[in-house]
């Protein structure tokens, strides 16, 4: 995807700093990427998409919190780096819609799969604040193995 297109979707991304780190791939979305699965598109209710057995079908922000809890994450207070933990940030709207999830890298920067486009590294969470993604509203962490 041209950088100009990314910067149209995310008006603050250039100033925050980012880099594209993969090719375009429709095979997985941000949820799968946060779950470290690059083979499937994760989404509830869709016949074209994967959703883990045993996790309630719920496409709200809280529904995705439950999904990531089933994968070993727990809610935490902030996005600050914590030794021994991987963090994720769930984006959405204050109405409770889930729109995106980013995963923290050991450097403290963040990595995201942008819809059906590329993976990117972005220096801040706020880089993706936008109409399409809302803002980071829930933070979760998982102990590194």
């Amino acid at each position: 995807m041209p950088e100009a297109q990314l910067e149209e979707w995310f008006p603050d991304i250039r100033q925050a700093g980012y880099q594209i780190t993969s090719e375009i791939d429709l095979g997985y979305n941000c949820v799968a990427y946060a779950a470290e699965d690059q083979t499937r598109w994760w989404e509830p209710f869709r016949p074209d998409a994967y959703w883990p057995d045993g996790v309630a079908l719920d496409d709200t922000l809280e529904g995705f919190v439950v999904l990531f809890e089933s994968l070993g994450f727990e809610l935490c207070d902030d996005a600050d780096t914590e030794a021994g933990f991987t963090k994720i940030a769930l984006y959405g709207t204050t109405d409770g819609d889930f729109l995106h999830v980013s995963r923290q890298l050991p450097t403290g920067y963040w990595t995201s799969k942008i819809g059906e486009a590329e993976d990117i590294e972005h220096n801040t969470l706020e880089a993706l604040n936008s109409v399409g993604y809302g803002q980071p509203l829930r933070f979760m962490r998982k102990r590194d193995q």
């Binding site: 990314l6 429709l26 949820v31 799968a32 083979t39 499937r40 869709r46 016949p47 994967y50 059906e116």
Partner: protein, 148 residues
């Protein structure tokens, strides 16, 4: 469905003019009528081609808009509720060959539109989430119907 109003009107007028002059047609008149019929068929074919071109152009514009405005979204539900996608579905079965050719040329989440327009789903339930497998299933479906 495939009509061109101005040509239809002209064709009806010409037919009415000639057919009013019944009952006995000379050989010359018969040849003129045959020529008119050929002309009418030609005009109709051209009108169909023009209509198909218009639909193809509209599809291309809507598909480009859809991709530009939804490729960053992580939700198929959000993608397929975009107005451009819904307008493509509203084109009806005419859109099916356009969609499968687009799907073959450039990957995209066209499966919901194809399910709606065809009433079928050739993808296996166990392939849920596997874009490549679902795309292959639809392309094979299209080849089986000589749409590709």
């Amino acid at each position: 469905m495939y009509t061109d109003c101005s040509h239809d009107t002209a064709s009806r007028w010409l037919r009415a003019k000639y057919f009013r002059q019944k009952p006995s047609y000379s050989n010359r008149r018969v040849r003129e009528i045959a020529a008119l019929e050929r002309m009418s068929a030609y005009v109709e074919r051209k009108a169909i081609i023009r209509t198909e071109d218009r639909v193809a152009n509209l599809f291309a514009e809507l598909a480009a808009q859809w991709k530009r405005e939804t490729a960053h979204l992580s939700s198929i539900a959000a993608k397929v509720s975009h107005p451009a996608y819904r307008r493509i579905v509203d084109l009806g079965p005419t859109a099916i060959p356009l969609i499968v050719r687009k799907l073959e040329a450039e990957p995209g989440y066209w499966f919901a539109a194809l399910r709606t327009l065809t009433g079928e789903n050739p993808a296996r339930p166990e392939d849920a989430g596997n874009f490549r497998a679902i795309r292959d299933a639809w392309l094979n479906w299209a080849r089986g119907r000589r749409l590709l």
